[in-house]
């Protein structure tokens, strides 16, 4: 190749271009690696490393300080110092010994090595010999000699090694003895400093300042591109869950959550004040940590929070901002964009509890999920389930009153004005507004709306059936009525006035809104109607949840008198527009036109008079608006609810929600919130005929309430991915859930504390004690427990099944006769009663079958007398506090306790034994005195009764109680009333 061939292009130029291109390619390839290497999560991990060092340092310093302040430790240090000196002086000085040990050690190693080689040679020789004999390969004699000599040598060596070991052990023992104390002390020191040592080791591993040079270089090399494939310091951390899956439609794959790649401090309480993403989970008791109910390793993160678990960047994890401010902030900080490709974006912070519902959907309430519970309770109160099917509320009664006898209760005028604007009459009513909303407040719609209301009212009154109100006593005392309302417990379910507007509603408030707020009744209805209603609510409204308070005629009359004194003056003054036949014709034609051709419809219309038109269109309108979903209305017995089912609303695809022309965030929660805030607003700017318009009414929920309801709706999902984590559907769990459902439905928690929640009525009892019983604040506090309906903790263990069943059926037994609040009579059916009884028993683990046989409660004459003695004031003085039949206790009412003559039927005999033995163990804080000191049980009983046998004493006392009956009083004890000091002896059970 001497001569360059002639070329078309300039080769130099091509060289140059090629060089440039190659260089560019090199740079780009470098860029590829850089791009692959450069991940945001690595930066987070590096930053976290500095925090980690910071935290470890602080802990280290704290530990160090603690050790410095620890006198025992300091003492130990001086001791060690002394021991060391001792050791140096006595043991280390002995160089000869040291030398000897070292020599022996060396000799031993050498010999051992020799032995190893010889053994190998011996085994090889052995094989050769065996082979020579067996296979005739080689000379058997010579090989045998060889083998023998090796074997002998191995034996000798082995013995020598053993001897050396013995010699060495002897020498070391001398040395070890010398340092024994020191080793012991060192061990002690290590025990004390173990925590500090752990932190120190950690610091050694992570803190570059504490590392040696080699380690520091190694750390750097580990993280270099490409080399980081083995063990980098920064790495994607993930939780893989086998029994929770990611739904890939075609198949379920194990869930993989990589959130902890950045959320590095999530399970460590030390990071609770650090910025995101390092911050500790705010509720480690319930979540994330290993001893919580939902450990991270078993549940991951996205199963509750939503979002894309496999993602390792802020954007792809589908974080969702909780408000506009955060959105803008994220846009700036993370270049955040809404991701429409992921169907389950993370719940915004305020809606997080939505994630609880998928597994806990059967529970009432779902413990710990405050917002979710509030939302569910609002759904119960507002009766959303009446129009929107919801599995959870399948068998719930209609939320609104019965309208089949409406004429006996209301006037047409009231009904008109009420439908027109229910909130004007009663600010906090659960009856929603149907008129003057976004899609019907223009002039035409308003005119039409007025006639629609006329039509519906006319239909209701035309169809209203006769209802005879019972006769009311002529005289009634409103003041007495007021006191009755305050004392009987009416305020457990009703409020006397609406809540303040700026008050965020709570679960307790909602329990007090179980029934309507008692305002304006004088305007709404007549005294006679209220009287009749109070006497027997079921007569007017068979499905009502208002129980029968078992009022006497006079009591009912007094209350009716009191309640109807409150009137609504501006409401009365509101005027009602007259009929407009043209519009009524339009409305009638609209419906007629759907049933028949227009010509026939026109002919038909001409034959109808105004009343007929009103009634006809009224019925059709009630059907359209679905009034019958909440109210019993004649003619709509089998009508289906008009709303869509909500059971899967939370997993509905976003594109199925019509945002219309409303500018809200295109997110599910944005849509739900808008729907609740202004339900008809999605009709804005749309051209729609009256029959096509959206129908959902406005409940005027506050922002706080909407947030709660949206949380619930977001939680209504079908999620197959968690099927392994749902509470097992065992009979016990189902019984508990069924019981909880009735308790929620009947608002039992308003009076009773059940599973630690409820007893809302107590606030109003305090009010009553102060207003009517002349108690001061502190007195009211003291009397509150004994004047409140009982806490039902442990009721299943305590109350006899049959008695409980009967009591729930007809609670006219006075367990606590002094109580003013009254356990009302509910219209429970056998199913309800069984469910409740089973619930209380299952809750306390008393659901075993067969039921324990009743113990023998007979007494010999002697035992009876002894028991009577024990019962008397001489010994335990039970009737100091307990009511016995018609004999009231002598102490003040704050110590009164249930009627003992009921014990025989009411209490489980086993429970009485337990109770007398140690009341505090069953109900901590009860007023019942501990007569038998559990710490010194053997000597706690009276020595002169039944030979001082405590078990016997309790048994006969229990059996004695079983002989007390209300009619057959067997004992009469004369009691000297002590002037004071009732508290000491007096006792009152805190439970029934």
């Amino acid at each position: 190749m001497s001569k360059e061939p002639e070329s078309h292009y300039s080769i130099d130029k091509l060289h140059f271009i090629f060089a440039l291109a190659a260089l560019a390619l090199l740079v780009i390839v470098g860029g590829v690696f850089m791009k692959d290497y450069d991940r945001k999560w690595k930066d987070y991990q590096k930053k976290f490393r500095t925090y980690e060092i910071e935290v470890a340092r602080t802990t280290y310093d704290a530990e160090l300080n603690e050790l410095n302040d620890d006198a025992a430790y300091q003492e130990l240090l001086t001791e060690i110092e002394k021991a060391e000196k001792d050791y140096e002086a006595n043991c280390l000085g002995n160089d000869a010994l040291e030398q000897e040990i070292e020599d022996l050690e060396t000799q031993k190693i050498l010999k051992e090595q020799d032995l190893k080689y010889t053994n190998a040679e011996r085994d090889a020789a052995k094989f050769r010999y065996e082979n020579a004999v067996g296979h005739h390969v080689g000379d058997p004699k010579a090989t045998k000699g060889e083998y023998k000599s090796f074997a002998d040598r191995a034996k000798t060596l082995k013995r020598e090694v053993e001897d050396l070991k013995v010699a060495l052990a002897a020498k070391t023992e001398i040395k070890a003895k010398c340092g024994k104390q020191l080793t012991e002390l060192e061990r002690k020191k290590r025990r004390i400093t173990s925590e500090r040592d752990i932190v120190e080791r950690k610091l050694d591993a992570i803190d570059p300042n504490q590392m040696d040079f080699t380690n520091r270089v190694a750390q750097m090399v580990r993280d270099l591109p490409i080399l980081d494939l083995s063990t980098p310091t920064t790495e994607v951390k993930q939780i893989v869950l086998k029994d929770i899956t990611d739904d890939r439609i075609i198949r379920q794959v194990p869930k993989v959550d990589r959130c902890i790649t950045c959320h590095l401090g999530i399970d460590n309480p030390a990071y609770k004040d650090f910025p995101q993403p390092y911050k500790t989970h705010p509720n480690l008791d319930q979540y994330v940590s290993n001893d919580s109910a939902h450990p991270m390793e078993q549940y991951g993160c996205t199963v509750c929070h939503g979002g894309r678990g496999r993602a390792t960047s802020f954007q792809t994890a589908v974080h969702t901002p909780q408000n506009e401010e955060q959105k803008q902030d994220w846009k700036k900080k993370y270049n955040w964009k809404a991701d429409h490709h992921w169907e389950e974006p993370m719940y915004p912070l305020q809606y997080t509890e939505a994630g609880c519902f998928k597994c806990h959907s059967g529970e009432y309430p779902i413990k710990g999920a405050e917002t979710l519970n509030l939302g569910l309770q609002i759904i119960e109160r507002a009766g959303c389930y009446a129009c929107h099917e919801l599995e959870r509320y399948k068998d719930w009664p209609k939320p609104g009153p019965d309208l089949t006898h409406i004429a006996s209760k209301l006037s047409k005028e009231f009904a008109y004005k009420w439908i027109e604007d229910p909130h004007f009459f009663r600010k906090d009513t659960w009856m929603p507004a149907y008129y003057n909303l976004a899609n019907n407040s223009d002039l035409m719609s308003m005119a039409r709306g007025q006639q629609e209301i006329h039509a519906m009212v006319n239909y209701l009154f035309a169809e209203s059936q006769d209802f005879n109100l019972s006769k009311m006593p002529r005289k009634a005392n409103a003041e007495n009525g007021a006191e009755l309302v305050a004392s009987l417990g009416c305020y457990a379910c009703h409020q006397s006035k609406p809540l303040d507007g700026d008050h965020d509603v709570t679960n307790d408030d909602l329990r007090r809104q179980h029934g309507p707020t008692l305002t304006g009744l004088g305007t709404k209805t007549s005294k006679e109607w209220v009287y009749d209603w109070l006497k027997d609510p079921n007569r007017y409204h068979p499905e009502t949840r208002m129980p029968n308070m078992r009022l006497s005629d006079q009591e009912a009359a007094d209350i009716a008198e009191h309640l109807t004194q409150d009137t609504h003056k501006t409401f009365v003054m509101k005027s009602i527009p007259g009929f407009d036949e043209d519009i009524i014709n339009d409305i009638t034609m609209e419906f007629l036109g759907k049933q028949m051709p227009k010509t026939s419809a026109e002919k038909k219309l001409a034959t109808m008079d105004l009343d007929q038109k009103l009634k006809y269109s009224g019925e059709k309108l009630i059907g359209r608006y679905g009034c019958y979903s909440c109210h019993n209305i004649k003619g709509f017995d089998n009508a289906k609810p008009i709303g869509i089912a909500l059971d899967e609303e939370g997993s509905k695809a976003l594109h199925k929600l019509d945002f219309g022309y409303v500018h809200v965030d295109h997110t599910k929660h944005g849509w739900f919130d808008q729907k609740l805030k202004a339900p008809r607003s999605f009709d804005n700017h749309k051209v729609k005929a009256p029959g096509e318009k959206l129908l959902m009414p406005n409940f005027r929920l506050s922002a706080h309430e909407r947030e709660a309801v949206v949380t619930s709706i977001l939680g209504f999902v079908t999620d197959v991915t968690v099927k392994n984590k749902i509470k097992p559907r065992t009979p016990e769990n189902l019984q508990l859930e069924k019981g909880q459902e009735i308790i929620a439905q009947m608002n039992c928690r308003s009076c009773h504390k059940i599973e630690g929640e409820g007893a809302t009525v107590q606030d109003t009892i305090v009010d009553w004690l102060k207003a009517y019983q002349g108690k001061t604040d502190s007195e009211a506090e003291k009397f509150l427990t004994s004047f409140s309906p009982p806490d039902l903790h442990g009721a299943g263990k305590k109350i006899d099944i049959e008695w409980l069943f009967n009591f729930l059926h007809s609670p006219d037994v006075e367990v606590r006769p002094w109580l003013e609040a009254r356990m009302p009579t509910y219209k429970f059916n056998v199913g309800h009663l069984n469910t409740l009884v089973q619930y209380f028993n299952t809750l306390d683990g008393e659901d075993k079958f067969p039921v324990n046989p009743k113990p023998d409660v007979s007494l010999t004459d002697h035992e009876y007398k002894q028991a009577e003695k024990l019962f008397s004031l001489e010994y335990l003085g039970c009737n100091l506090c307990h009511i016995v039949g018609n004999e009231t206790p002598t102490g003040t009412q704050d110590t009164w306790a249930p009627d003992l003559t009921l014990a025989k039927t009411r209490l489980k005999p086993e429970w009485i034994i337990e109770w007398i033995k140690d009341p505090q163990a069953l109900v901590p804080g009860t007023n019942m005195p501990t007569f038998f000191d559990p710490s010194d049980y053997e000597n706690s009983g009276a020595p002169d009764i039944l030979d001082g046998d405590e078990d016997e004493q309790i048994r006969v006392l229990r059996n004695y109680l079983m002989t007390l009956t209300p009619d057959k009083r067997k004992t009469k004890v004369k009691v000297e009333i002590p002037a004071s000091d009732t508290n000491e002896a007096g006792a009152s059970e805190a439970t029934p």
Partner: protein, 372 residues
Amino acid sequence: MIESIKLFINQITAPQISFTAIILLFFFIFPPSEGLYKFHKKIGLHKLWTNAGGKFMMGALFLFFCFGIMDENFRLIVTKADNVPIVGLLFLVVFFLWFALKQGYDNDKRIEEGKGPIEAEDAKEKVLVWPDLVYIELIAIVGCSILLLVWAMGLAAPLEAPANPTVSPNPSKAPWYFLGLQEMLVYFDPWIAGVLFPAIIKLGFMAIPFIDNNPKGAGYYTFNERKMAISIFLFLWLVLWIFLISTGTFLRGPNWNFFGPFEYWDTHKLEALTNINLSELVYMIWLGQALPDNILIREMWGFLLIGAYFVITPALLTVTIFKKVFQRLGPVRYSVFIVLLLLACSLPIKMYLRWAFNIKYLVAIPEFFFNI
């Protein structure tokens, strides 16, 4: 001002207008006959195929995109990772079209001057495989690698939600190279648009060497010597393929509705699309009577029309503008050629029938799943 420009563009990009405009312009830009060619030169359209013309076209396209990219809706569609290559494709199509035609026009000029095509001179010069060919190929490989790597890094893969058979994306779009076929589905029954036409296209490609027996233009670029062939080819390529692909990519939104380049893709947009079959048009609208029960009588008009299209049109063409072609090709080649051409032309014809008369099918026999 800008808004009204955008509105104007949105309106004129509607296929009815843009398609008509392109067809009309097409025959002036690519004149198939001598007469049109002269007119084409007279109004100076041949200057498009000069350096200045190339700069003008590329510049105009570039400016249009610069203008468009400022609009949010335009940007959203054009910068979608899927669509970026189609934008590149538009530029490449224009560039290579210009590049080929420029050389053709230059040669035409040389031939006119009696110099022969430029390629003839090239052929005299010797070019070595190494280094001339292999070296620049190597450089090109490196260049392409750079381009692909930069592209891969700059535009992330357009990943969407996990596939869910119950949720189909809206609009559901075929890969870009099939969008022409998908666009045809708007106007034809699937068996025609999805089976018959793709088959005919392939058969047509195979037939080209047998039909085209014109030795002119072999080994060199020319336009003048092969006006009709180039014009017909470019019509099929640019109008019936590239145009449909770009429409499908950029202008078809949710529910396959048409959206102007600056229009928001509103899923709820509604268009009045009540289409009727030819039989309904004839009997019910024109004659004011019910449809006959007999299928053949009912669909008679459609069959007649299609029959006429494939019998009378070729006859007419043969005695008029294709007289010379017929003489040159002979009856067999000519028949194949004319059938292919008529099939190709049936697409724009059907499009116009749809737009003008809302015609859905010319022959509609749903009883036998047979629709044309």
